[in-house]
Symmetry: C2
Subunit: 275 residues, 2 copies
């Protein structure tokens, strides 16, 4: 999916919500665990319930990998289901990959050819040649980690260099040379508040994938105040706040309510921006 | 496997070689491709041929993930084969994972419980809480990226902060607080030569996993001169230089020769160090 198509989806569906499919058997309703293929059953129910209120889905690969082959089967089945039933929804594989060039090329092949997702999260630590192999696919996206939502983001990402530039700023600035804004997004945690202003100075046109609204305490209004562009430029992710809002049989229904609440807030924020 | 066991293997086997199982169908001998399960067939032949000359194996997960389910099956089968037939060899899953805490915990579960490998490579960009979930397993290891062997390592890893400390040095220094040297190793590329001196000032006792000897141009002698400790403290990896040394039917035999050449060089270097 290219940038114009993504922006059209956001305008038409009146939201910029990404639902995180961090599907954890330990948090799953008992009624789902009793059946076959609980991971896929849960994902399918969540997707069917929330699709009207979001524009993107983001399975985090850790939650599938940890079950070995069965987990990978459930992930592949989930992505096939999304592509078949909801082809206008954007799919982000949250994998935080990144390795030397020939190895990143193998990851890219797996994600963009075999899985055929739209975007992949990538870690920047190994630099340019670890990221560029992911940028060779038309209409596929790199979502590069810039400033994450967790406590540990302070350990290295905020380190100032001898010119006063923080590491996340250097990652943004340097990586702007690797691709333009129709191929590169950045992860910026909602918990970072006003730092969105600094980010927009360096990356004015890139989409930002924003985790940390909800369970991690970030504010949607603040993210939009400092981070929204004239093309929206935001995909705000919620995982636990939607998919585990109820652990009873009504889990899908409650997930839909939570997604709809966010969609309605987003509609107002888009309208206020003239979108 | 704990540190004393690893050191004993190195002393007894007279080498500190890790064979990288970056198994790429495009580089595989035609005779292997014709059969069933070419990835596992190739790995098994390479393992049987090289096991006398190495102490560790390092499958890089990208090369398996890129084939989806079939790739994961081949990876699981390879690891099971290693654990069954060569239980004294150390197994490193080269995956360069790292995510927020609850997600890293899922990766850790997948790698250390399901796969049951000895060690996992982890990317440091997201800081402490992205790494510590991997440190909760007795006798399992984190191999944290510090200074990698690729060109892109210069983009961010060498950035000096306002105190003159380079990012890789900060990663080493800060992460020394997260675990001691019997749980934490570091990736340091062989192409970085004399920087091993700087690394040993900060991390005098940790094992270093050293890629980049061979195809990438690093020197084994230089790595040992500046990086070897009284406990050896090195695992030097070679992938392409061993496993693709021949693309003919004699590939396993030639891989054994290449591994043996390195083993003999390592024996001399260990002896020179009194090990």
């Amino acid at each position: 999916m290219n940038k114009q198509q993504l922006i059209r989806q956001i305008r038409e569906r009146r939201n910029f919500l990404c639902v995180g499919l961090d599907t954890d058997l330990k948090k799953m309703p008992a009624c789902v665990l009793k059946g076959d293929n609980p991971i896929f059953t849960f994902n399918k129910a969540i997707i069917d319930a929330t699709a009207p209120y979001c524009v993107a889905y983001k399975p985090n690969l850790a939650f599938y990998e940890c079950f070995g082959l069965e987990g990978w089967k459930a992930l592949e089945k989930t992505i096939k289901y999304l592509k078949m039933e909801y082809p206008d929804h954007f799919i982000i594989a949250d994998a935080k990959r990144g390795d030397i060039g020939n190895t990143s090329a193998m990851y890219a092949r797996g994600m963009f050819e075999e899985m055929d997702v739209d975007a992949l999260t990538v870690a920047p630590y190994m630099g340019e040649d670890s990221v560029t192999p992911f940028l060779q696919y038309p209409d596929k996206w790199v979502v590069l980690l810039a400033l994450t939502s967790n406590k540990g983001s302070h350990d290295f990402q905020l380190t100032e260099d001898s010119h006063g530039e923080r590491l996340f700023e250097k990652v943004l600035r340097v990586s702007q040379q690797w691709a333009d804004a129709d191929r590169m997004m950045y992860v910026v945690g909602a918990t970072q508040g006003r730092l969105f202003e600094d980010i927009r100075r360096i990356a004015p046109n890139n989409f930002l994938l924003v985790p940390g609204v909800g369970a991690q305490g970030g504010s949607l209004e603040e993210v939009c105040k400092y981070g929204m562009t004239s093309e929206c430029g935001l995909l705000v992710n919620s995982s636990r706040g939607i998919i585990y809002a109820s652990s009873e049989e009504d889990y899908a229904e409650v997930a839909a309510q939570k997604a709809q609440e966010l969609q309605q807030q987003m509609d107002i924020l888009l309208t206020a921006k003239g979108l």
